[in-house]
């Protein structure tokens, strides 16, 4: 806590003449922007979770439980749109990338601070429009988050507004990607060479390239839906000579790489956390850094594995199935390297590590079940069933979600200068972990039995699985409440901390907590490699 009297933290020093809420809404400080992203996306996460719980409650028994079919269809569409476009895609990069990346590089801010603020405003605009689409027009969108044609042209619900919202959110993502790539290229402090960059920064670099290269395709695609609906052009409408499969290609050319936008930053978080709590260098730094780039590259070439049953040619199935298995390799290497990092370490099982290990297990389940989906013959059976729903949630909720939770337990003490109750954090983890597996494991089983996704009602043979899953959803919700309440209490009233509560060796742990406006109150020492803990000890 030295120096706090001399140098003001970024909370006290806004760097502009604005005060109060305006000093936040129009800030160009990457830390404030990162926190604002986090507040909005956590609020939307709560909305998404409530929608998810409503879906689970409806499915506890066949027939109507709490809502009508049309409402149910709108609810799962919203759950998907909110969770994917508003929560998960921006989650780690926009919130923690903004807060942490410039500090890790020894920079004062991102390359384009005002563009960063514009990204946030676009994000808010998109989010508001998505919510707006619920309450205007002829009913909330009911297409699923995939907006498949011809159904999305057919339906009279408010799809046009929703796709414009997605279009705007896409721009926010592109601008953030550009900002991070440029920052990493141009603003590394002297001494922070490419191979001395923390792996979190490497993962954001790979993510940035996907955001910049793939997101425009989404922008174009959703714009085409808008044009189809409003002008009736007929690109996708077979009655007018269009091709509905073309839409699926365009959609997945973005939306598959988007999955890597979601997961790569979480891998970066885990790569940064594990060495700190093992007090040992990461196993195979270069391999992990390069595998992020490989995932980004190969992941851009596998989109049509979502379309094995679509009616595209068998040759395309052959190629895309093969390429999909190629992506499995770098992911597997990462998992093995993380595990090997623990070997002969000196491990303290603090909450960030616990959440990171949760990530590895859940992501492994998600990744391994992904092999079933990449393999052509088996995919035919489980495609569009609850097997896919479960696989996806293991990767994105178990992966990105737990990665986000790990980041919140690891870096937020730095941002707030206070510590949460570690014991409660561990209890929350245990409840979350049990609830999560109880919720999603049975869905693998009913998926294999043939339960299709997006079903409002179902045949009686699938009821047991649905029932267990719904019980699991309540336990998971309880875990989330415990975790969030604990974090909130910790960050508002918890004990104050010094510069380096975990004994991290990357630059963010050299500055004060919370950091000052321009990130460093004294020149950071950039001579140390990112995971070299010799002579570094945690405070207290």
């Amino acid at each position: 806590m030295e120096n706090t009297n001399a140098v003001k933290s970024f909370y006290e020093d806004s760097g502009s003449s604005r005060t109060g809420i305006m000093s936040w809404l129009f800030t160009t400080d990457h830390k404030r922007i990162g926190l604002m992203y986090m507040y909005v996306l956590l609020a939307m996460f709560v909305v998404g979770v409530c929608l998810g719980l409503a879906i689970r409650l409806e499915l506890i028994a066949p027939g109507k439980t709490i809502m009508e079919a049309q409402t149910y269809n709108a609810v799962f569409t919203l759950h998907g749109v909110i969770m994917i476009f508003i929560v998960v895609i921006p989650s780690i990069p926009a919130a923690f990338g903004n807060m942490i990346l410039p500090i890790q590089l020894g920079a004062e801010d991102v390359s384009f601070p005002r563009l960063n603020l514009l990204s946030w405003w676009l994000y808010i605009t998109g989010t508001v429009m998505a919510l707006f689409s619920l309450f205007t027009g002829q009913g909330a969108p009911d297409t699923g988050w995939t907006f498949y044609v011809p159904f999305s042209e057919f339906t009279t619900t408010n799809v046009s507004v929703a796709v414009i919202a997605v279009f705007i959110l896409g721009f926010s993502s592109i601008l953030t990607g550009i900002n991070f790539i440029t920052t990493i290229h141009r603003l590394r402090a002297p001494g922070i060479t490419w191979t001395k960059m923390p792996l979190f920064a490497w993962s954001l670099y790979a993510t940035g390239w996907i955001q910049v290269l793939a997101t425009p395709v989404l922008g174009i695609t959703v714009l085409l839906i808008f044009v189809e609906r409003v002008l009736g052009v007929g690109l996708f409408d077979p009655n007018k000579g269009g091709d509905p499969i073309l839409y699926q290609h365009l959609f997945w050319i973005y939306s598959h790489p988007a999955v890597y936008i979601m997961i790569l930053p979480a891998m970066g978080v885990v790569s940064d956390i594990i060495p700190v709590f093992a007090r040992k260098n990461i196993f195979g730094y270069k391999t992990i850094a390069v595998s992020s780039l490989m995932i980004a590259f190969a992941g851009s070439l596998v989109w049509a594995h979502h379309m094995f049953t679509s009616g595209m040619s068998d040759t395309a199935v052959l190629i895309f199935s093969l390429l999909t298995f190629v992506v499995a390799i770098p992911s597997a290497i990462k998992v093995f390297n993380w595990t090997a990092t623990l070997y002969k370490g000196s491990i303290t099982l603090e909450p960030p590590l616990l959440y990171s290990l949760g990530f590895i297990f859940l992501f492994s389940v998600g990744g391994l079940t992904g092999l079933i989906l990449g393999s052509a013959g088996t995919d035919i059976h489980v495609h569009d069933t609850y097997f896919v729903v479960s696989h996806f949630h293991y990767v994105i909720f178990g992966g990105t979600g737990f990665g986000l939770f790990a980041a919140m337990h690891y870096w937020l003490p730095k941002m707030y200068g206070r510590m949460y109750n570690k014991k409660v954090a561990k209890i929350a983890f245990a409840v979350l972990f049990v609830g999560f597996n109880l919720l999603y494991m049975p869905l693998f089983v009913i998926g294999l039995q043939g339960m299709p996704r997006r079903y409002y009602d179902y045949l009686p043979q699938y009821q047991t699985g649905h029932m267990i899953s719904t019980f699991g959803s309540w336990i998971l919700a309880l875990g989330l409440i415990i975790m969030f309440v604990n974090l909130y209490k910790g960050y508002t009233k918890g004990p104050k901390i010094g510069r380096n509560p975990w004994g991290g060796s990357t630059l963010e742990w050299q500055t004060m907590s919370p950091p000052p406006l321009l990130n460093f109150d004294r020149e950071p020492d950039t001579s140390r490699r990112p995971y070299d803990f010799k002579g570094v000890t945690p405070d207290e």
Binding site: I245, N281, S375
Partner: protein
């Protein structure tokens, strides 16, 4: 052919077993090793961490081994996929048309059905398309799933196997009734299948009993339309009060089953008043089975001609009842109950119009539903211009019965 079929499901299942088996081993190893490390290298047991930053050999091993494993997985998966795609040349072909929210199966002889009847131990190839949005034909038991895409033909095939029933589900989200777009594959013996395929259809056009009446020449003397030829008409004959001359005395009897049987086998004992005793006894000529069928026909003649029955069948087969209820409730579109001559407020070219759902209106609503959209409903019904005028007539007759 039988082998290759059993192969399709079993090849897919082999791929499942292989991938799951390997995955369980990998997951178990990662988890066990992690837990062991947490325990063995906890800061209490191992206060001094070792200085290791990598190991090239280890990394090469865990790059190359996964490549081999996923290569094998890919191959198993692809073999299964190929088996699912290679329909035997002698497959039995059925056309499948998907629409919101029902399935229509059309057989080579033109017969249509809303359930997929197939003979045992036969490879069945389905040529599929959709009339509105994308659906997906999914039979979990056969591991097959194929999207049905409007404006495009897709196919899938399966081996029917033993007599049984299997669930068909729509696997591509298609709107409010998606989860009710269900049907069944019904595998029956070859005899039953032939009977179903041909028999039922004949019964629809010309019931068996009627054919027998023609065969035994009954129709030469007995009309079916109430007119008197030589003998009394057979129209509505069952349970009709009939005055007969029995042993010279007049007597009123009900033309029940026993009476009709006797009247055919031994007509001269009970002559209907006003007719001559000229019908030959059919006792020796007509086997009991045929007699039963004829009586059955005479009994059911009334039922077969029940107004609206054919229309009701068309409404089910064409999927109308997927959206339009017959009991006044609202599923997606307006109910059929009380439809005929109901006053309707509809949107026509963006303007509100008041009209009556008369026959003309109903015909145009079936053929061109976009023309008038009933207030409060969405424009989501596809045009059914493939229905024949006769079918539409039958539908309207059916609506007339739903008061």
């Amino acid at each position: 052919m039988e082998n290759s079929v059993i192969d399709a499901v079993s090849k897919v299942d082999t791929a499942f077993q292989f991938i799951f088996g390997v995955s369980f081993v990998i997951l178990f190893l990662i988890t066990a090793v992690t837990i062991y490390f947490l325990f063995r290298y906890s800061s209490k047991r191992n206060p001094e961490p070792a200085d290791i930053d990598g190991n090239l050999t280890a990394e090469i091993i865990w790059t190359v081994v996964p490549i081999i494993i996923v290569g094998a997985m890919f191959w198993y998966g692809w073999t299964g996929f190929k088996a699912l795609r290679e329909a035997p040349a002698d497959s039995y072909n059925v056309k499948v048309t998907a629409r919101m929210w029902s399935w229509k199966f059309e057989y080579p002889n033109g017969k249509t059905s809303d359930k997929l009847y197939v003979p045992v131990e036969t490879p069945v190839k389905l040529d599929m398309t959709s009339v509105d949005v994308i659906h997906s034909f999914y039979v979990p038991a056969f591991r097959i799933k194929m999207d049905t895409v409007p404006g495009m033909q897709t196919y899938t095939w399966f081996m029917s196997g033993e007599p049984a029933e299997y669930d068909i589900q729509c696997a591509e989200y298609c709107g409010v009734r998606h989860s009710y777009m269900l049907s069944k594959v019904i595998v029956v013996t070859k005899d039953e299948f032939d009977k179903w395929l041909n028999g039922d259809q004949q019964a629809q056009a010309e019931p068996e009993g009627k054919a027998l009446l023609a065969k035994y020449g009954c129709a030469d003397c007995h009309s079916m339309d109430g007119s008197v030829l030589v003998g009394p008409s057979l129209k509505d004959i069952y349970n009709r009060d009939t005055v007969i001359i029995e042993n010279g005395a007049e007597k009123t009897v009900k033309a029940d089953e026993a009476y009709l049987k006797e009247a055919i086998y031994d007509p001269s004992t009970q002559i209907v008043k006003g007719y001559d005793d000229m019908m030959p006894p059919f006792k020796d000529e007509m086997p009991k089975a045929d007699l039963e069928k004829i009586i059955g026909y005479l009994k059911g003649g009334e039922k077969a001609e029940k107004p609206g029955e054919r229309g009701a069948k068309i409404a089910d087969n064409e999927g109308c009842t997927g959206c339009h209820s017959t009991d006044g409730s609202i599923i997606v579109g307006p109910s059929f109950k009380g439809l005929l001559d109901r006053p309707v407020t509809a949107l026509h070219n963006g303007k509100k119009v008041e009209l009556t759902a008369n026959i003309q209106y109903i015909i145009s609503s079936i053929k061109n539903p976009g023309e008038y959209i009933v207030e409060g409903y969405d424009e989501s019904m596809p045009p059914y211009d493939s229905l024949s005028d006769k079918d539409i007539q039958a539908l309207i007759e059916y609506f007339g019965t739903l008061r």
